[in-house]
């Protein structure tokens, strides 16, 4: 009975859940969720490197504002940040901005602040020796960062990047409050059309998110194991993977 309902929902509404009302309206559904999170991560990544460098800078004038921004972003609910952007972005641009772009701006700031902590931790965990050695070889500070520090730090960060991507996918659901046409929005549209089967509709929604995020987390964990093995070097290669600490920095929502 219940399973039959769920199969029927998927059969009748899979296109709406996948792309929203796309040819006749804005892109929505699962595809929009993925586009939104991928764009957010792609833009947050360079921003987070700039933030991390600013936070490690010796100039207080650069360090303090960014530190404050990161703390505010971490201490305030994402929902509050969305409301701010919903209010400020149209005010500054003077235009009627679609909710998709407002959500993108919010997510870039939010994910940027969280990723910058990951980048910073990655740089700090390399230790000062790398920088000293690079400087001794004649690199400038920026050159050392560009050619010595960041390539190592960012490589170690790949698993954290993937898990931030997963968090961002989960964060996009909050676009619901400003009517971003994503997967959650599509599901509530389906629910409004059916009216009688809210449990089944939201169960389908939960299942889709589960499959998506589980798969990506699985990828992150296998990449992490590979990276730890590579870093452990050939001598320790025969250690069982379980004995290596999994330090993927996860931020939840």
């Amino acid at each position: 009975m219940m399973i039959q309902d769920i199969v029927n929902i998927i059969k009748d509404y899979w296109l709406l859940l996948l792309i929203g009302q796309y040819p006749n309206g804005p892109l929505g559904g699962l595809v929009n969720t993925l586009v939104l999170s991928a764009l957010a991560i792609a833009l947050a990544f360079p921003l987070s490197i700039l933030f991390a460098l600013a936070r490690l800078s010796t100039f207080a004038i650069v360090r303090w504002p960014v530190t404050a921004l990161v703390y505010v972003t971490r201490g305030v609910p994402l929902l509050m940040l969305i409301l701010w952007c919903y209010f400020l972005v149209p005010l500054w641009t003077g235009a009627d901005v679609p909710s998709f772009w407002i959500m993108l701006v919010t997510l870039v700031i939010y994910a940027g602040a969280f990723l910058s902590e990951v980048v910073r931790a990655g740089i700090v965990s390399l230790g000062p020796g790398q920088m000293d050695a690079a400087r001794a070889l004649g690199h400038s500070y920026m050159g050392a960062m560009r050619y010595v520090i960041l390539p190592q730090a960012l490589y170690n960060m790949i698993p954290s990047m993937i898990s931030t991507f997963v968090s961002t996918i989960k964060d996009t659901t909050l676009g619901y409050v400003i009517n971003v046409p994503d997967l959650t929005f599509a599901a509530s549209q389906v629910n409004n059309q059916l009216l009688t089967q809210p449990f089944q509709v939201f169960l389908v929604l939960a299942l889709v998110y589960y499959v998506l995020c589980w798969t990506l987390t699985f990828v992150a964990n296998s990449v992490e194991k590979r990276i730890s093995r590579r870093r452990a070097g050939p001598v320790n290669a025969r250690l069982p993977a379980e004995s290596l600490p999994l330090k993927t920095l996860t931020e939840q929502l």
Binding site: V76, P77, L79, W84, V166, T184, F202, L205, Y209, L253
Partner: protein, 234 residues
């Protein structure tokens, strides 16, 4: 509308009362879901380290579901879905007892339990197995070794992620607005609708959230510092 004016909000007794109610409800939801989450987390942990064979996959599935499905979707499933499937007597009782807040507590608490139990488990796993053997060699039983040797170290290891996740839970309490609970974010939106002073009320709301988040982080820092100090004193 004239320029920036915080007092337009703060000196209005009605708005102050709305904010106060918002903070109160946010706290009820936060404390309620924290206690529920911690209780469940300890239960899940006990199940997981117990020799029961069915327990491990059940706990794993629980944790996996709650970590991979967005919290908002979990809340929606509870409030819009499971609520409607409940028997009428229960539904009626809940409707008279602030069902929105109750489901916010249940949804957030169950979700957070998954994170807490993982934090505790990884904290316990970081205690070397030699500790248990040493405690047993000194004449401790399993329970007393757990109580006096393993648990103090494990909980201390788990403190930093537990504190982080306690802050996240506080921030996530704002999601309760989606199921209609009248917590702080809800109060902020209400005041905005009445006063049209968006900037001022958002600023006040942001500062309230920031203040309590930093308070939880600070309290957490003190607790872990004291835990470290008491460990070193031995």
């Amino acid at each position: 509308m004239s320029g920036f004016d915080l007092s337009a909000i703060l000196s209005n007794p009605e708005f102050r009362l709305m904010l106060l109610h918002g903070v109160e409800m946010t706290f009820i939801i936060y404390v309620g879901s924290w206690v529920l989450a911690m209780t469940l987390a300890i239960l899940l942990l006990c199940l997981r380290i117990s020799p029961l064979r069915f327990a491990d996959p059940v706990v794993k599935a629980y944790v996996s579901y709650h970590r991979n499905v967005p919290t908002l979707v979990q809340l929606m499933l509870w409030y819009f879905g499971i609520y409607t499937l409940m028997p009428d007597a229960l539904t009626g009782w809940l409707a008279n007892h602030n069902a929105e807040a109750i489901f916010a507590v249940i949804g957030l608490g169950l979700c957070q339990a998954a994170y807490f139990s993982e934090d505790l488990r990884s904290g316990l796993r970081a205690v070397s197995p030699g500790q248990m053997e040493a405690a047993k060699a000194l004449g401790h039983g399993y329970v007393s070794a757990m109580r006096f040797v393993i648990m103090p170290q494990g909980v201390r290891n788990a403190l930093p992620p537990l504190i982080n996740h306690s802050v996240s839970l506080f921030k996530n309490s704002s999601l309760a607005i989606v199921v209609g609970a009248s917590e702080l974010t809800h109060a902020i939106k209400e005041i905005e609708n009445v006063s049209f002073r968006t900037f001022e009320i958002y600023l006040i709301g942001t500062l309230i959230y920031l203040f309590f988040s930093l308070l939880i982080m600070g309290a957490g820092a003190i607790i872990s510092m004291r835990a470290d100090a008491s460990m070193r004193a031995r």
